[in-house]
Subunit: 233 residues, 2 copies
Amino acid sequence: MATDPYPDTARHAHVVHALGARIVDGSLVPGTPIPIEEQLVNELGVGRSAVREGVKVLAGKGLLETRRSAGTRVRPRESWSLLDADVLSWRFGADAQAGDIRVLADLRVALEPGAARVAAERADAAAIQRIDEALAALHATADDPDPFIDADLAFHRAVFGAADNDLLLYIYDMISIALRSVRQVHTRSVAHNKETLPNHERVAVAIRRRHHRKAEEAMREVVEVARADALHC
Amino acid sequence: MATDPYPDTARHAHVVHALGARIVDGSLVPGTPIPIEEQLVNELGVGRSAVREGVKVLAGKGLLETRRSAGTRVRPRESWSLLDADVLSWRFGADAQAGDIRVLADLRVALEPGAARVAAERADAAAIQRIDEALAALHATADDPDPFIDADLAFHRAVFGAADNDLLLYIYDMISIALRSVRQVHTRSVAHNKETLPNHERVAVAIRRRHHRKAEEAMREVVEVARADALHC
DNA sequence: GTCCGAACTTCATCAGATGAAAGTCTATGA
DNA sequence: TCATAGACTTTCATCTGATGAAGTTCGGAC
């Protein structure tokens, strides 16, 4: 437990990452107590304050629970803040499980068509322009795998942004944290990229025309293709 | 800044709530520095450790940012963990803004139909049974405003649960935190409740028959009616 | 075998000291 | 006048020690 993946960051942040990553990847099992403060001080090479601050941060994310005299234990998974940026990056960061890929793909299928629909209802001129710009970037980078990933994420973010809903946008930002890690593994081919362009175009056009049903349908096509790809590879 | 809404809880939790609530409700403006540690110690009546632990928890939720010698300041809203349980309850807890009601209603419209669709794809027998039980509870409590709210939340949760997707279920749990606070204000009439029963029934039937399109359509009807109600009142 | 209490464990909290980094002020020189 | 280097100040970062509180464990009395 003495690995040190975050050398120069703040001491308490080191504690957060060291314990958080182990909890999320399953090395520390829910219900079991983690080592006592003194032991963590030794294993992590930091002082008691740093350990306590780190543990409190993880408790704030629902991963840990401290009880006086009864030790600190890992909370059940249902209590975790699954859409916390740190928790997500620990979960999808290293090497995502197959089940997690499915969860992510299903989430997009569940969410993005509806988001596109609301975007079509709420988009103002500026939002529509941002979508159009993102679409142009998508076309411009279709031959370049890496920039295309960024452009794709930016396009979807522009759509969510058009819905004028900070909660929705937050959810997308968290999805994109996971997507970005996963995509680096499942980099799709240039041919694939070009196939998705017309569907993205349809999304943009439908939103521009405030046609919610079409926006939703087009986005569903996009994310269902993405899901099929993700589950095949 | 010396209010004490959490008398018997842990000292550091008191700090978290005192500062967190003020940040989310806008009393502490993003970009501005909060009082220095020593002052917080005096104002909140706790020791430095408690202040530091509380501040670290809020930093973990993206609300604060500490910089050595430069003080601790409120981070911009875009950095906040908007789907954190605490942040949500501070936002929707006291008296929700009209804009927040709209955001919540739109989020449901964007999300729930898609979730019902995925539920229809993924539901197993046990999940379907839970939905049916929740539906029965909904019918049974239609005349009782308060229990009906619980039954309604339980029904929607059962649908999300059927999608077999922990991220989706987490999002719903966070929505329900907000919904529960808001509904206590906008308690709907018994007549209203009875009107929504057939739509809920259609959702359950469609999922049972694994008819995703119908499940989605029926759920859209439910949440669009709810949105119209919320925005009128 | 059950119940009570003492000893022990472990987190909770406060307080003090030291350090590091960033900002502020001042004096100097051009 | 203005720029700049260096000293000073502020404020968070971290470690350590001491005390307290609340469970847990274990032994003894019955």
